[in-house]
Symmetry: D2
Subunit: 153 residues, 4 copies
């Protein structure tokens, strides 16, 4: 694993602020549990209203936290006055997301001035046992000179 | 576009029943608006609790309805006693999902006994104008002999 | 299907020149058979030295012409002084590429100033019958101000 | 990294035999340089006839060795009487493949009875310095009871 040096010393606060503005995280009950340079972790406890038809976490829910974990892993390495945009991502669903907790860890594979590539692993914990349930590969875009602020209002 | 002949005449009721058991759709407020053989449409009105940090629909929300639209497009062609599993999908986010309504249309590209490939287009409607905001390519697995029922309990 | 207006009237010659410099096309025997604004077709006749272990076209060979068909579909809409770079692509292999000829058609889904999204369909023709064998979804980058020229030397 | 136990003690010979039947590898000059359980390495020296328009390895060439490296990583864990099929793969091109040698390392992420998920990293070596140039995420299918033999004839 490469070690990354953030360009903005305030990267962790910047990630936490932005995550705090993602209202979907609040709706689902997701928590930002770790912010390191180029690596971010999000956890989501099970709730019966986050499910697909068999009572497991919906793949879209898994994708939501994987996309944000990868996105903020990239964002942690951006300059202070930049925004992040997901260009695309691909999810492989390795096993049913059957458990009490999802944990997504996003990591930067290749940082870049314009485009950054990340991956995320998602595990599901059931009765204390962790199991890989998804793997994501993602492309991000760095929008320089547009700080990640809420729209004025 | 190829026309598909469903193997199960009750395909539409089967899709609606299964969709009705996806609790995340209820949490987000998504509606199943059309079920044709090999083609399924899902709509999701905007709500401020479905957003990313800039106040647009989160990419994970877009993915959730795209995954289900593609999944049920495939499922509509499955035999009556089969379940559907998403193997993987890839989303390209074409534009910010900034608008009043998301509409995902999933279509079967290639049906198969074990694996089915689908695509989905997602448009966002703003002030009555529609704009493509995402494109998905997805692989599904057909689990024969396992009707799509809720877990017993 | 949207209709695209090229920004450079000489787009077709520009695509043909660039294709002519892709030495791998010559090694494999691929031909550029159609160049329209936002849509490009490449054909590749079967040869026994283009195969995987079962004697069919190798998925990498299919990918090579799909990547170029999508790439040149995007490039056809670029300004005259720009280069194209593939950011990423995803291939679904729908059926074994067993036949006499591969034909890849690349099409622009969403043109953009920096990023362009395309898709490609690949069919394989056997005894005069065509069959879809692959489907690609691709992201391209437009490098403005860097004409697509060979390295000096 | 998980360690994998092959189900077939003769896995390495089985991989080498199958690779030897991939005629495209011979055309391009690719060599199978390592076969471990769940991990396979392929190298490809530069040649001027393997290029895109700027004189670097074509992305399709990179994909060809990445697809085979991932495919044989999965195949190494299959039972003796099984064949491998690529269902789909996604490539992120991290940097121009500008150098003297490509090296693709494929690794199994998640083995399975029917589907196996792998990843591959491709590096390019230039003047003795290695640089990551591509990252792949792939789904394979195991066809049981169909040994990986050439078509009779």
């Amino acid at each position: 694993m490469p070690e990354f040096k953030p360009r903005d010393a305030g990267f962790a606060a910047r990630v936490r602020d932005s995550f705090g503005r993602q209202s979907i995280m609040d709706l689902m009950g997701a928590r930002l549990t770790r912010v390191d340079p180029g690596e971010v972790e999000i956890e989501l406890p099970f709730r019966p209203d986050l499910c697909q038809q068999h009572g497991f976490f919906h793949a879209g829910v898994t994708s939501t936290i994987a996309d944000s974990a990868g996105g903020y892993a990239g964002f942690s390495l951006f300059p202070a006055d930049a925004s992040v945009l997901t260009v695309e991502f691909k999810m492989n669903l390795l096993a049913p997301a059957d458990g009490d907790l999802l944990r997504a860890v996003g990591r930067v594979i290749k940082p870049g001035r314009t485009l950054t590539v990340t991956e995320a692993e998602v595990i599901v914990v059931k009765d204390g046992k962790a199991k890989a349930c998804a793997h994501m590969l993602q492309t991000l875009m760095c929008l320089q000179g547009r700080a990640d602020m809420p729209a004025a209002g």
